[in-house]
């Protein structure tokens, strides 16, 4: 039972950290893709969505190489922490973040695309700078899509298995998350213990969806987008 608690805690920890990283980054890339015109936009769009089209194991293997001491990311972590982050919970969070990133960016992009850019232009003309315009006009109007994106990213991070097991391993108490623990328990025939974590997964899933719906309701009535031509 104690190990169950630490497994769930580690899962939540990696998923929350992964979501906290993808939220601002995903918003920035979504904004770039929706509101800006630049060379290489198509290439960036493909690159951002690429993890979606790859087997997670492939992502895990690429990440393992990237955080290794031969790649610059690995060298950076060696100079900062004295070791690579491979087979630590940081690596699990990184894997979860990379895998959920395309889903987050795509949700945010759809949300931002639904905000009439003329409202942002109007806000600028009324004296709001770019940051204030984003916070007071764009974000409130993109609220639903942003919430959906955060939830999607979080549940994807929570369910991450393939990339995580390659780059972070399946070390009990250190990098073992709910999916990898269930995998271990099924392989070892410990089905009762596996079922316990299956139930925990269902409960967490329901809780995440309930929070999602509650946040959406809070946006209140009269929110409907203003009609209008061109």
């Amino acid at each position: 039972m104690n190990s169950d608690i630490s497994i769930v805690a580690l899962s939540l920890q990696t998923a929350i950290v992964a979501t906290a990283v993808t939220l601002p980054l995903g918003m920035f890339f979504a904004w770039l893709l929706v509101r800006k015109d630049f060379r290489g936009k198509f290439a960036l769009d493909v690159l951002v969505s690429l993890p979606l089209a790859l087997p997670p194991v492939v992502i895990g293997y690429v990440l393992l190489w990237a955080v290794g001491s031969n790649a610059w990311l690995g060298q950076l972590s060696v100079s900062l922490f004295g070791s690579t982050i491979a087979f630590t919970w940081f690596a699990a969070a990184l894997a979860a973040a990379v895998v959920s990133f395309p889903l987050v960016v795509r949700s945010f992009a759809a949300a931002l695309a639904g905000v009439d850019p003329r409202l942002e232009i109007a806000a600028r003309g009324l004296g709001a700078g770019p940051a204030r315009t984003f916070v007071t006009v764009t974000l409130p109007l993109a609220y639903r899509g942003v919430i959906a994106g955060v939830l999607l990213g979080f549940v994807r991070a929570l369910s991450e298995f393939g990339a995580t097991i390659v780059v972070a391993g399946n070390i009990p108490g250190r990098t073992q998350t709910i999916p990898s623990a269930i995998f271990t328990r099924i392989s070892t025939g410990d089905t009762d213990a596996a079922w316990r974590l299956v139930i925990v997964s269902v409960v967490i899933g329901i809780a995440a969806l309930a929070i999602h719906n509650w946040l959406l309701k809070r946006s209140g009535p009269g929110y409907a987008r203003q009609g209008g031509s061109n």
Partner: protein, 374 residues
């Protein structure tokens, strides 16, 4: 005063315009695609021209390095230029009061000239402050947009087709509010429109744009004359579809006048417009009510002498101020106290011998006059 000389090119379109606008209401008009909104966006700062300069009250808002050696750029949020868009562009997540206060809160206290709640009252919005934009009519939305733009105590008010998405009744009403705003707050305005009716009734000066160039800058009615002579009557653009094509003065010109309800009989009501009285169909309004009167230019008959034994209830004496022709039709501007634009045929004009300075009589039926709330 705003002056500009700017150039901008985009694929398939180039804008190269210059002008000096005084502190009155200046209209920019022309067919769709002429560059009206592009010019407005450059002044507002949502679009950066490629070259030239823009100056508002001795403040350089934009200049390219070629124009002034050192490039200048004032971000839109620093310009204090209020803009009213075609469909209002109100913030859908904020109620009316918060929409109006949005910009007001962002300007320094020392430069706040108008109180948002007083603006709301002036524009007849006091009862709607807690409504969301989705719960407003088109006319109410435009009035909120006007209040929101005024609340930043703007140095200049830009109006981009502010009436285009409204029906005829609301159009007259909002137009009237805009006139009152100009008188009350003394803010210079630039009014973009493809509607000759609106331009003539609100603006003191008008700039005609065609294909990104200035095709004329004059009094609105004088500009119509020039536009007709050049065969470039507004709206006669073959590519223009929908409302733009319908903006042709030859079939759509409406005289729009401010009036006050006078006495009523069983079947008719008098509306006073300046010094003259116009007989209209009976109105369910009270004497003293302010109204807007609309009368089609083609609904008026001209007579060289005062006609007798006529069923038409309105016979008004006036003087011919201007005559111009367009597409086989002749337009005359008649000063009868208020000014009327009257449309007649070439033949009628030569038979009547109508020339500038002539005394004429305007004849129209009560039923030709539409009366709207002011």
């Amino acid at each position: 005063m705003i002056s500009f000389d700017l150039q901008l090119s985009r694929s398939g379109f180039s804008l190269d315009v210059s002008g000096v606008f005084d502190d009155g209401i200046t209209a920019i008009f022309g067919p769709s695609g002429a560059g009206k909104s592009t010019l407005l966006n450059c002044i507002a700062g949502s679009l950066r021209p490629d070259g030239g300069w823009i100056e508002l009250d001795d403040r350089v808002l934009f200049s390219s390095a070629e124009a002034t050696r050192v490039a200048t750029w004032t971000a839109p949020e620093k310009r204090r230029i209020g803009t009213v868009y075609q469909d209002g562009a109100l913030f859908p997540h904020l109620d009316v009061q918060r929409n109006i206060e949005f910009g007001y809160r962002l300007i320094p206290e020392s430069s706040r000239r108008f109180d948002p709640l007083e603006l709301a009252e002036f524009l007849g919005l006091s009862g709607l402050l807690s409504r969301k934009p989705a719960e407003l009519s088109g006319g109410e939305r435009q009035r909120v947009a006007i209040a929101r733009a005024l609340a930043i105590s703007p140095n200049l008010l830009l109006l981009d087709e502010p009436l285009a998405s409204l029906d005829a009744a609301r159009r007259g009403s909002v137009l009237n509010y805009l006139k009152r705003v100009h008188v009350e707050f003394e803010i210079p305005m630039i009014y973009v429109s493809h509607s000759v009716t609106e331009v003539v009734s609100i603006a003191s000066k008008a700039m005609l744009l065609r294909e990104g160039r200035v095709a004329g800058f004059d009094r609105p009615s004088a500009l119509l004359l020039r536009a007709a002579a050049m065969g470039s009557v507004v709206g006669a653009d073959p590519d223009a579809a929908g409302p733009d094509a319908a903006g042709t003065p030859t079939d759509r010109f409406e005289n729009i006048l401010d009036g006050v309800i006078g006495e009523s009989t069983d079947h008719s009501t008098i509306v006073r417009v300046g010094d003259i009285e116009i007989s209209t169909r009976r109105q369910n309004r009270n004497p003293g009510d302010s109204v807007v009167v609309s009368l089609g230019a083609s609904q008026i008959i001209l007579a060289a002498s005062r006609p007798v034994n006529l069923s038409a209830r309105n016979i008004v004496k006036g003087m011919v101020v201007e005559v111009w022709s367009s597409g086989g039709m002749v337009f005359t501007e008649i000063d009868a106290g208020p000014k009327f634009i009257v449309e007649i045929t070439e033949n009628a004009m030569s038979e009547l011998g109508i020339t500038v300075g002539n005394e004429v009589f305007l004849v129209f039926k009560s039923s030709s006059v539409d009366v709207f709330d002011a």
